[in-house]
Symmetry: C2
Subunit: 261 residues, 2 copies
Amino acid sequence: MLGIFDSGIGGLTVVKKVFEILPDYQILYFGDTARTPYGGRGEKIIKQYAAEGINFLINQGARIIIIACNTVSAVAFDDLKKKFSLPIFEVVKPVIEKAIKTTQNKKIGVVGTRATINSGVYEKLIKEIEPTIQIFSQACPLLVPLVEEGWFKKIETKMIVKKYLQPLRLQQIDTLILACTHYPFLQKIIQTKIGRQVKLVDPGEEVVLGVKNFLKQNPEIEKFLTKGDEHKFFVSDLTQRISQIAEGWLGRKIEIEEVEI
Amino acid sequence: MLGIFDSGIGGLTVVKKVFEILPDYQILYFGDTARTPYGGRGEKIIKQYAAEGINFLINQGARIIIIACNTVSAVAFDDLKKKFSLPIFEVVKPVIEKAIKTTQNKKIGVVGTRATINSGVYEKLIKEIEPTIQIFSQACPLLVPLVEEGWFKKIETKMIVKKYLQPLRLQQIDTLILACTHYPFLQKIIQTKIGRQVKLVDPGEEVVLGVKNFLKQNPEIEKFLTKGDEHKFFVSDLTQRISQIAEGWLGRKIEIEEVEI
């Protein structure tokens, strides 16, 4: 199965992309809702939680792992690659390559949680590939709770998005990385507030395109992925609200199971 | 020592009240920042986390426990009283008694996290004492992240508070319970938006007044509480930002230590 790991339910936006781009494969999802959000936590804890989540997915039959969480990708990926031998994909590198290909004026913006932005990983990795690019980063801690409230179109959300994006707009970036799983829900507002000329790039879309490519080139791994639509969804803490949000976001009824990890 | 348990750093508003009302006693604080917020979690998990935190405080020398967290008070207090033999105080009952004494028109409002409001505990306990009182509850999930951002006076905060309070205002409540540790930072905005005629009641203040009273009546317990200002602060995940917020809120320099529980 195709395992998707996230710190919470934000990774369901990556599930949506898998439904679109790789619709044949059975998905095994684990969201660590008992310990979400990872965004404000320290590095050691994030690495430990991520290893526990991935272990669970492997025990359930995952043959490939997608880390949907930007915080985990930014902070713990190297560590996890050393710990586990199966193919693991993360959301940071593919979107960086896409952003570098996309920018014309060499000014890239990054928006994400405080932990993702503070890690400086986007800046560091972009500079390694293309030192002449300027990166402008902005932590937007209120956007995750706004999305989880379902306030996708409210005036307050528009004002807060505008306030967060104003510094990036002044820098005249032409490419903006949405470095948090939740942000695709605010894509329209973000596009309006940052300006029509700016290209938005979505890590979820890029990682799934990368996995598609990998499976084409590695048929010996592809054949171990079960097909069908009996997807399995697990979380470490299940509430009625999580089921509601999940079904609303995915636009279909799903069964979610609570597990202790 | 006087132990204060919270799911995160919000309980520091209760510490502030202890500094004001019981300034002689040494405080032992534990905030479960690695697993905060408890607000959206299920009951079983909240009970387990709270028992672990209180156990830690007892092992560190606490002789009395104040549960600063409304979610834990609302969901887990009865369970914790059975598990532990030392005096445990919680923030729900004292504020309920105060609100019942305060209201003239018998219309009380309650604002809090989704979990606190969904638990229905305020409504249930008020009705048990005074069945003729009407209670109007409103979950305000965005206020905690707004406070943690330090957006105490921003226009967006005022608009969001206004939106949340509008239904309570229409009901013409005359008393409003601030059923979340973070809300005292928004006290002025809340007062303005709900109307000058409405009395706000703060669980932190009420619980500390209750403890003061208890210590006066129980000198055999009071004498075990160490005095002095070498307060100890522990969290389960320490970041630079937590130290910054804590010192900003308390208005003094403090040492915070990270512990695994």
